[in-house]
């Protein structure tokens, strides 16, 4: 593809500026039977996460005597993409489950619930790039909703390069036709990156710029997550004990 198609008059195909995220929406407590749940939408990407536990570990050999284990399953619905995808686990979903798990683990006080398991199920209902970021954002919110003690919420978003320009939150055509995609998960309070993947080729200077931009995007996501949690729990803060 040529430059003209991805960037026109300083704007991207969907009319966004280079450092602009797609419209976001976060909602906490969307699943009735889960201990905690959340939905996170960014543009056309929709992910729902449900948290169960801490609960007893089955199979029992996975149990750890001094802390809880965190199990994450990322799954994409067959109807999430324009071309139907084969249902069930794949190489891709196994990898994403693992990176999301490792991005979340440092935020949790798992030693608080020894000999238990915390299960996180992430379902991507609509996919339009950055599904792992949307899934991660929903999962972190759902964990907070389930009352699992944590240091901070984890926010995540992607940045990349299209038509030679560094941009935030790759979506749609930019994902398939762009040059580079780099998802990042960031803890604001700890100033720590726990997810960093890259698909594309770049140099040392440019990667610094891209990561910086992604962190800026994470901050916006973080604010959205906080206001979603506040929306659900504000009414209950008037509780008298």
């Amino acid at each position: 593809m040529t430059e003209l198609e991805l960037i026109k008059n300083g704007k991207r195909t969907d009319g966004r500026a280079f450092d602009e995220l797609r419209p976001m929406e976060a909602k906490v407590g969307v699943l009735k039977n889960a201990d905690g749940s959340a939905m996170f939408r960014i543009g056309n990407t929709v992910a729902v996460a449900g948290v169960f536990g801490p609960r007893k570990v089955f199979p029992k050999h996975q149990e750890v005597s001094d802390r809880a284990i965190l199990r994450v399953r990322y799954n994409m619905a067959p109807f999430a993409t324009s071309e139907r995808s084969r249902p069930g686990i794949s190489r891709r979903s196994t990898e994403i489950s693992m990176v999301i798990r490792e991005a979340i683990v440092p935020s949790l006080f798992l030693e608080e619930f020894p000999k238990t398991a915390v299960d996180v199920y992430i379902e991507v209902l609509q996919a339009d790039a950055s599904t792992r970021c949307a899934g991660l954002n929903a999962a972190s919110l759902a964990l907070a909703d389930a009352g699992i003690p944590m240091r901070d919420l984890v926010a995540s978003c992607s940045a990349g390069k299209i038509a030679g320009t560094v941009v935030l939150d790759i979506a749609g055509k930019e994902d398939t036709e762009g040059e580079l995609d780099l998802p990042v998960a960031f803890y604001k309070k700890q100033n720590m990156i726990t997810l960093l993947q890259m698909d594309g080729i770049t140099n040392k200077e440019e990667i610094k710029e891209i990561v910086k931009l992604a962190i800026k995007g994470c901050d916006t996501v973080y604010q959205e997550q906080r206001s979603a949690l506040k929306r659900k729990y504000m009414a209950e803060s008037a509780i008298e004990v």
Binding site: P54, R55, T116, L153, K189, L229, S237, I239, V241
Partner: protein
Amino acid sequence: MNDRKLVLPGDFLGEGRSGNNAFMDGNKVYSRSVGLVEEKGGVFFVIPLSGIYSPKRGDGVVGKVQEIIFSKFIIDINSPYEAVLSLSEATDEYIDLTKTDLTQYLNYDDLIFAEIISVSKTKNVQLSMKDRKCRKLRGGRVVNVTPAKVPRIIGKGGSMVEMIKETTNTQIVVGQNGIVWVKGDNEDIAIEAIIEVEKKSHVHGLTDKIKDMVEKRMTAEKRVRTDAEGRPHTSDRKVDAEDNHSPMHEDFNGDDD
């Protein structure tokens, strides 16, 4: 009543020491869950608004007998950790284990109200029934509520639960683990009230509102009953006809099973 501040995970609470549901970084204290912040003498702690029940020493819990092993009972206390009630903590009697069948004291699926006497670091939970308030709960019905809402169901100094008990003429036992046991003539109304409290736990002056609700239901109930017993009833026929359609009607006059 003062509204306390809502905090989210990672929120800065102040400088001092950390209590429940807070953590320290240097001398700064941060919240580690969604909840309401409180400070007492430089110690910051957070009352969580969600989460499962985590056993604590001194809590009174409602549990169910899950297993009977030689000289102890394993009790399910609505938590990832099961609790152990040893025979010596269950009764003061001398029991010859070679001759006695333990099910005569507590059988599988029996409900008990017991006190947690110890929780070890690996979360081995020990129960005791030696306290006067502890007992076996016979009959009745059980409601599950979110453990975080238990303080609201009990109310200030037990005001809420006492009010429901009195107005509905039922016995109610509230476990810190979110299991509420109800027994009496008007179990349905009491359970309805408890569910209402859980749902509207954030409403101001809830005790009075629930009292109104329960009293209304009780008078409606009385009227239905007198009708069923065939006593002449002169006043306000129209209201009676409406009441007869209420779902409560069928549930009453029957025995609890």
